[in-house]
């Protein structure tokens, strides 16, 4: 375990500006405003090779450059605190542990790209975080950290907190922008991308909470310090949130390069009741399900990419062998069906039809053809959905089909070895 981006969480009072300052708070902002040009700030972030922690792992400095390059007077920075990916609760640790650090990161990003206004979009399910941020912003306004000519410099910036209202898709950056504008959260067609045309049609930088919390540290300590953490291709640390059938659930900060096995057995104390591991799902419900075989994989963007999987939000769901693969697949697909915004056909209809095929298998009338149907629909969804929701919904489905083919076959033959599906031994008589 490592203590870097989350080192102040639980150590200081979240709303004590004094304590935050005593622990190096706002040194990053001061350094940026007093001694660095916006371009120098961007260069420093590029040099740190920080990559987005919200799921897509996009190089942060490159994104900032895109927004900075836009000539518009009016630009926006947005902190994405929608954290809706099932099994993900790591941003909450930062939001409630050290709100000033997240805000400082957002302020530095605004200075770097030339924005005067920022939004923090916090999911409605986190009322405590919303309350804390409103208070934190008021404190900073009083102390001259927000408003006109911050710290006496030629930089003015203001932040507004916006609440989500229960929609997973609003974590997707264009849907999030729609939601801030007061609309239903449907993803927009891309391009144009938010750095060119985002909130109210203006260049907009959207960053994840954890990404932003890293910024003050990188600026105050220098990119060089940051580069010492992690692996060759993945720098820094990652907050992971572990859930499921594991002894110690929770949020942990780890350095890139740690293996999944170390996370699950050393940090989290292994499986509850010493049960046998069936699979882990990495990156939330939109992540791939990996069998025991892949547990020695190291947490590293490039290593993961070799296996065609992503680290996503850093959620790890541990599942023991009492779980029925088909029933689990139904639960995740049900989630996506419920959360689909309905804008494009493949995602809106695809999830429903996958569930229908799973149901046939679960209730004993499944055939080989249903397996093929699931595979075909999932592939079409992956390739043709408009946004990341519909593109990622098939990832767990396809990975389960790949690694647990036998269990599908078993259901076709009218048997569920975990005993979850209750047609045990009755063959296809239900069909």
């Amino acid at each position: 375990m490592k203590s870097f981006v989350s080192k102040l969480c639980g150590k200081i009072m979240p709303l004590s500006l004094k304590e935050y300052r005593e622990h190096g708070g706002f040194l990053g902002l001061e350094k940026a405003l007093f001694y660095m040009s916006p371009q120098e700030v961007i260069d420093e972030i590029k040099e740190s090779r920080l990559r987005g922690r919200g799921g897509a792992s996009f190089p942060t400095g490159v994104k900032w450059q895109l927004v900075a390059a836009e000539g518009d007077e009016e630009k926006y920075v947005v902190c994405n605190a929608d954290e809706g990916e099932p099994g993900t609760f790591k941003d909450k640790a930062l939001l409630e542990g050290c709100p000033f650090q997240v805000i400082e990161g957002l302020m530095i990003s605004a200075y770097a790209v030339g924005a005067y206004k920022g939004y923090i979009y916090i999911r409605g399910e986190y009322p405590n975080s919303i309350d804390l941020f409103k208070k934190a912003i008021n404190i900073l306004k009083k102390e001259g950290y927000l408003g006109e000519n911050i710290l006496g410099q030629n930089f003015s910036f203001d932040i507004e907190v916006r609440s989500g209202a229960g929609a997973y898709v609003c974590g997707e950056e264009t849907a999030l922008i729609e939601s801030i504008e007061g609309n239903s959260g449907s993803s927009r067609f891309k391009p144009p991308y938010p750095p060119n045309c985002g909130l109210w049609g203006k260049p907009t930088l959207v960053n994840n909470v954890e990404t932003l919390a890293n910024i003050p540290l990188i600026i105050s300590q220098g990119a060089e310090e940051f580069l010492k953490l992690g692996t060759k291709g993945s720098k820094g640390t990652k907050l992971i949130s572990v859930s499921g059938n594991v002894v110690n659930k929770g949020v942990f900060e780890v350095e890139f390069g740690i293996s999944l096995r170390e996370i699950i057995y050393d940090i989290c104390g292994g499986l509850e009741g010493n049960k046998k591991l069936k699979f882990i799902q990495v990156g939330g419900s939109s992540g791939a399900c990996l069998p025991e075989l892949l547990l020695d994989l190291e947490l590293d963007f490039d290593e993961f990419k070799k296996h065609n999987i992503g680290i996503g939000s850093g959620a790890i769901l541990v599942v023991d062998d009492s779980c029925c693969i088909l029933d689990f697949m139904r639960v995740t697909t049900e989630f996506f069906k419920h959360e689909s915004c309905g804008k494009c056909t493949t995602c809106r209809e695809g999830n429903r039809h996958i569930i229908k095929a799973i149901d046939r298998m679960i209730y004993g009338s499944g055939t080989e053809r249903d397996m093929q149907i699931i595979k075909d629909i999932a592939t079409i969804m992956r390739d043709s959905s408009l946004c990341g929701l519909g593109q990622a919904a098939p990832i767990p489905v396809l990975s389960l089909l790949k690694h647990f083919k036998d269990e599908f076959q078993e259901h076709i033959n009218g048997y569920c070895s975990t005993g979850v599906c209750n047609f045990k031994g009755e063959g296809k008589s239900h069909g």
Binding site: E83, G84, E85, P86, G87, T88, F89, K92, R123, G124, E125, Y126, P127, R162, S163, G164, A165, G166, A167, Y168, S179, I180, E181, G182, N183, S184, G185, S241, S243, G244, N245, K249, G250, V251, Q281, S285, L317, V319, C323, F328, V331, T332, E334, F335, H338, E339, C341
Partner: protein, 157 residues
């Protein structure tokens, strides 16, 4: 009458620009014992923010934390996402149905409770978890469900 005044007050406090619609809807819903946004409120909001009624209704029905139909004083939301499922959320949902005598999606006759499924709300560390209004309860067992319902019933009188 009260609801009308409070709704107008909420709009005034939050702001009457169209981008404030979601904030206004959240606030308005909380003004109501039955945790929903009435047609009357939607009309007031549409006038107050100068947007079509269809837009106000559309947004209110899109987001799952907002409701345009009556719910209970206590809105019980059982998480049915992956991590809670793995920790037996289905038994918890069943226990709530038994303890309340209603099915998912229904409101008890006394208007005290409504029961529904919800997506992950970040309580996975204490799965299986439920959200009741703004409170999160975790590490639930069937027994704890009955106790919880009991104590809420007592709290309500």
């Amino acid at each position: 009458m009260d609801l009308e005044n409070n709704t107008m007050e909420a709009i005034e406090k939050i702001g009457n620009t169209p981008d404030k619609l979601i904030e206004v809807l959240i606030q308005c819903q909380s003004l109501n014992q039955q945790n929903y946004i009435t047609e009357e409120q939607l009309n007031l909001i549409s006038k107050g923010l100068n947007i079509p009624l269809s837009k106000a209704y559309g947004v209110a029905s899109f987001y799952s934390m907002l409701s345009t139909s009556k719910k209970g004083k206590y809105v019980i939301q059982v998480c049915n996402s992956g991590p809670c499922y793995v920790n037996n959320s289905k038994t918890i949902a069943k226990a709530f149905q038994d303890a309340l005598g209603i099915s998912l999606g229904e409101v008890t006759a006394d208007g005290l409770f409504s029961l529904e499924y919800t997506s992950c709300f970040g309580g996975c560390q204490i799965a299986p978890a439920v959200k009741i209004n703004d409170m999160v309860y975790g590490n639930l067992t069937e027994e704890k469900v009955w106790q919880l319902v009991d104590s809420l019933r007592k709290e309500a009188v």
